[in-house]
């Protein structure tokens, strides 16, 4: 089958003869991929920042597909079902899953206790091949995969596997009160969704900060946000303080993670010398920009083992940090309703529809922010096979 094949940092190949996945467990399903997205967090893998990313792996944790085969223990799904597959691999019965923390499953990732199991996210994420391929093995098929509701656009469905719930949880974690001023660092797809959803929780003002002008323009239209380029500022923290009566934002959301730009010190130590797990510039700004007693929501991805962050300010300002991988299954009913009722139309973010065969180009375009790309969608050649 065709599959994306990781060959090293910034090197990707299309495999034409990768063996098709097999049922390995009674609760497995095999899914023929119909749509697959490249996520901003895939770029952390692409840039070689996530440990235990092995050559030969197929990335991709945002995909929809048609069930082609099921294991002997699968009861809810059947062959032919068209499903959206949340990025979390979750057993549904461990203490974490039972409490709806599906992103922290205890029975899906042998390699790390610090993260749950995710499709196509290094062996640090469990070693599962992902959905940037024609077929995928989907473990615990009865737990998270969800039949796409009749009438839902396939492009909206695939966005429900990660970016929409992740953006929603970013806002939810902020504990936003009606009337709050919310600052979102990062105008990538997750930041855009977080800004859009901040209004759902009653924000009175949403400010997005990034350094890519076309994304800021998109944030103004898509997320109804005030959007500013930090390269036009001497100091983004001072900007936020001045913009909030020298009080600080009520809630700050870090929607960037370890690939952040904006600080030479963080860039050199994090992205150049690998002395920390990427650059923590956005987190640094968020902690310093939020009000005393405010909340910082971290949804940007950081790798292990550590990052430079101002812990002293965290303690002295009495800041609460709330962070987690999105629990997609928990949020799906609410988000499906938001889409079906027309309150949001996330597919507006998909700017590029690219054949799977051109996956190397797609990664480069997304990484280098070429051609005003916001969110690239990959379409496998067998997507529409009967």
């Amino acid at each position: 089958m065709l599959a994306m094949n990781f060959r090293g940092p910034r090197q990707i190949r299309l495999d034409r003869n990768k063996p098709e996945p097999e049922i390995k467990h009674p609760y497995d399903a095999i899914v023929r991929v119909t749509r697959s997205l490249i996520c901003g967090s895939d770029l952390h893998l692409y840039h070689g920042r996530v440990p235990d990313t092995r050559v030969g792996m197929t990335f991709g944790h945002e995909f929809t597909g048609v069930v082609e085969a099921v294991g002997s223990g699968v009861q809810k799904l059947k062959v032919g079902d068209h499903v959206l597959v949340p990025f979390n691999v979750a057993c549904g019965s461990c203490p974490h899953c039972k409490q709806e923390l599906y992103g922290n499953c205890n029975e899906s990732n042998p390699q790390a206790t610090a993260v749950g199991g995710f499709f196509g996210y290094a062996h640090t994420g469990g070693g599962y091949d992902g959905g940037q391929a024609e077929y995928v093995r989907v473990p615990y098929a009865d737990v998270s995969p969800t039949i796409i509701p009749a009438g839902m656009d396939l492009e909206n469905a695939v966005l429900l596997t990660d970016v929409v719930p992740t953006g929603y949880q970013a806002a939810e974690q902020g504990g936003i009160h009606k009337g709050d001023t919310v600052v979102v660092f990062g105008a990538g797809p997750v930041g855009l969704m977080a800004a859009r959803f901040a209004w759902f929780f009653g924000a009175a003002r949403v400010i997005v900060i990034d350094h890519v002008d076309y994304r800021l323009e998109f944030a103004r239209k898509f997320a109804f946000a005030e959007a500013y380029n930090y390269r036009d500022m001497k100091d983004p923290v001072l900007f936020v303080k001045k913009a909030t009566d020298y009080f600080g934002a009520d809630v700050c959301i870090d929607a960037v993670g370890c690939d952040a730009s904006g600080s030479a010190l963080q860039d050199i130590t994090g992205k150049g010398l690998l002395l920390q797990a990427g650059s923590a510039t956005a987190l640094h700004w968020a902690i310093n920009s939020v009000k005393k007693g405010g909340i910082v929501s971290i949804i940007g991805v950081y790798g292990p083992p550590w990052n430079l962050a101002p812990i002293g300010s965290l303690m002295n300002k009495g800041i609460t940090i709330r962070a987690n991988q999105a629990s997609v299954k928990r949020l799906l009913p609410k988000l499906i309703d938001h889409i079906m009722s027309g309150r949001i139309n996330p597919k507006e973010m998909i700017t590029h529809r690219i054949p799977l065969e051109d996956v190397s180009d797609a990664y480069r375009m997304f990484s280098s922010k070429l051609d005003h790309i916001i969110k690239p969608l990959l379409i496998p050649p067998r997507a529409n096979a009967a």
């Binding site: 390995k24 467990h25 091949d129 990484s367």
Partner: protein, 181 residues
């Protein structure tokens, strides 16, 4: 080798000790539980606390996926999870380095930095494997240079010219040095 405390601690006893304390000791501890507030839960609504954390050993587990390949697992858990990915089992020198890394907990730099080292060695192994299978590197496609050429041509040409100049200058310097010898 010195026996560390973590090698001697009795495993899977936490809930037994907690239950014993709840039954026998807490009544003698002045103030025990009097300020407990179930509403004081900063994880809500992300986590729907239902006490399952305290039943951590007694949950229904799926059957074990057959261990028909080498699966490294974190020392911070008792064994392999009930399902696991089969993408790329450890092989070669990078595999040996990964096995070493997995002897250390996720709290250590040794674990993660060693894995990054293994990743970089794995890239070289991948190149050698490609060559032995007759696959030549194709940076035009694999590195996405085609996309840069299409959408970002002036910057791409600038970068390529700068890189070319630097390499040429380096080679000339080397040549000069060799001549002097």
């Amino acid at each position: 080798m010195q026996t560390e405390l973590e090698d001697t601690i009795a495993e899977f006893q936490d809930r037994k000790i907690a239950d014993r304390n709840l039954k026998n000791r807490t009544k003698d501890i002045p103030g025990w539980g009097m300020d407990a507030d179930p509403e004081n839960d900063p994880t809500y609504p992300m986590k729907h606390w239902n006490g399952a954390d305290h039943e951590r050993l007694n949950y229904e587990k799926a059957p074990q996926q057959p261990l028909d390949m080498e699966v490294l697992h974190s020392v911070e858990r008792p064994g392999v999870t009930r399902v696991f990915g089969t993408s790329s089992p450890p092989t070669g020198l990078s595999g040996a380095i990964r096995r070493y890394a997995y002897q250390y907990s996720e709290a250590t730099a040794t674990h993660w930095m060693t894995l990054i080292l293994a990743d970089r060695i794995n890239v070289i192994e991948g190149k050698l494997s490609d060559l032995t299978h007759g696959i030549l590197p194709n940076p035009w496609i694999e590195r996405g240079w085609r996309a840069e050429w299409k959408h970002n041509r002036p910057a791409f040409i600038r970068k390529a010219a700068t890189t070319g100049l630097l390499i040429t200058a380096g080679l000339l310097l080397l040549k000069r040095k060799n001549k002097r010898k």
